[in-house]
Amino acid sequence: MTDLAASSRAVSGQKVRKLQTWHWTELFFIAPYMVFYIALLVYPLGLGFVMSFQYFDLFAGQAEFIGLENYQQLFSDRIFQGAVVNTFKFVIFTVPAFVIVGLLIALALNRQTWWAATLRTLFFASNVLSVTIVTLIWRAVYLPEKGLLANFLGNFGVGNLAILQDPNWALQAIAVTTIWWGIGLPMVLFLASLQQIPADIYEAAKLDNASPWQTLWHITVPSIWRTVVLVTIIQIIAQFQVFGQINLMTQGGPNNSTRSMVQFIYEAGFRQWTAGFASAAAQVLFVIMVLAAGLQFWASRRKQEF
């Protein structure tokens, strides 16, 4: 009896189990992830869209449809306009530095020596620290009078330095902190790209008596150009969402000079508890991020054509 059952199972099994078939129970492979994906990413995305048309009272649990009022209020809000400008400024302060400094470090450290390995380790190390630790370090560096920077510049007669309290310099100071924190990533991406350039191209250039400058400009840069584009887009996406450094170092001040879009969303949503208004701002961020992601997709697709 059991033999019969077993053999019939084996026969039908072989019939059904061709290579490219499936059984509905096998949907359980993707089911756990799909539950989290829909419940905690897709649904909130839709909910946020709906909330952006509502006046929302989180504590009373009441929602009231108010049409485009949140958006009207948002686009005429001086502080939000300022936050958009600050965010773009921050991207401009940081992204070119990430690309240029990251590439220079990679060019200098692309060699098999112990000191180059040590310096690579060093430049990437700050990357593994949390934003809280990084800002703790840099707030101490920027402290008026007691701080490292004030001490250092004091030697040159610069007194009374309070850089995070200065509307003209606070955002740049946060940009420097951010570059210190994140330079390791562009460095390793450039290093990986440099190591893929075939050595014989350089040999050929040498035989042609190409100068180092010509070699850099006509061989190295074109070979890694796609990585330059990729690093630029990755950093634009990352820096556009700057939040932790700002919230911890200046809380958007002084005089709103460092308030970024995410900082604005955070304050509207979780300081003023205007969830509908914050959701409207989040939709603006979402649209910009989707455009940037499309750009990244396009850039990484192009890679395969070559």
Binding site: Y33, P44, L58, S130, K146
Partner: protein
């Protein structure tokens, strides 16, 4: 090689020298805060420059063990980070195998819909997410800290690509033995995917450990703080603080575990972070 004999070009020497100087500048803040953490706060108030001279003391670290909540926050962080990492790797492996091998109708459409989720930034859904966990009365719980981290599609994307690259012939022998699909997955294919699981695990661990925004709004009770949020809460008055040395001891204490892990597993950490960035 022939290049060894040639003298290095001038431009390159300048480049290397500048990067070495830059590296020193990079290290100065770290060395300085370690120095601060070893000084008594009283001495620093009198003379900030005393950091460059003896005597040094471990008193700040001793105080840390007695007075701060770092122990609780470290425990919370470990619970959240380890649980999240294990769950993300598990469900990503399952889903990755499903998308790579199970040819259910509409698979490609569903997969593309999942990949589109890569473009959704956490910051864009943070307000509705907070409302949902508020409705479920789940804030200030470990579930609230862990669950949102499971929705990101990066792991599924990574594992699907990896499983697709494993030749299907490897599974065919097992299929002839009429093993169930899950057994094939568990015994044949999954062991081959360990490198990808390591990459995903390290990346998830790092981002969960360093996450700031979600724990900031979800964990509002100090006993539920993670390290990042707890440390953030203690540094609000740094400008007035006379305990600069104590604050910096906290930073060193909280940063050290990650730095040590990084130095031991550098190759894997770098690969994980770079792999996640370029997806």
């Amino acid at each position: 090689m022939a290049t060894r004999k040639m003298s290095k070009p001038m431009g390159e020497q300048i480049l290397v020298a500048s990067v070495v100087i830059l590296a020193i500048a990079w290290m100065v803040p770290l060395v300085w805060i370690v120095g601060l953490s070893l000084k008594s706060s009283l001495e620093l108030v009198v003379d900030p420059n005393s950091v460059f001279s003896f005597p040094y003391t471990l008193k700040n670290y001793a105080d840390l063990m007695v007075t701060s909540n770092l122990g609780i926050w470290l425990r919370n962080t470990l619970i959240v980070t380890i649980t999240q990492t294990v769950l993300v790797v598990a469900i990503s492996c399952l889903a990755g195998y499903g998308f790579a091998r199970v040819e259910f109708p509409g698979r490609n459409v569903v997969f593309i819909l999942v990949l589109m989720g890569l473009a959704i930034p956490q910051h864009a859904v943070i307000v509705p997410l907070h409302k949902m966990f508020n409705d479920w009365q789940m804030h200030n719980t470990f579930q609230a800290l862990i669950l949102p981290g499971l929705s990101g599609p990066f792991g599924v994307f990574l594992m699907t690509a990896y499983f697709r690259a494993i030749p299907i012939e490897i599974e065919e022998a097992a299929k002839l033995d009429n093993a169930s699909r899950f057994r094939i997955f568990w015994e044949v294919t999954l062991p081959l995917a360990v490198p990808a699981m390591a990459t995903l695990g390290i990346f998830t661990f790092l981002s969960a450990w360093n996450d700031y925004l979600w724990p900031l709004i979800s964990a509002t009770r100090p006993d539920m703080y993670t390290l990042t949020v707890g440390l953030a809460a203690t540094q609000t008055n740094i400008d007035q603080s006379e305990g600069l040395g104590y604050l910096m001891a906290q930073a060193v204490f909280a940063g050290l575990p990650m730095l040590i892990l990084y130095i031991f597993f550098q190759k894997y950490v770098v690969r994980a972070v770079a792999g996640a960035a370029i997806r």
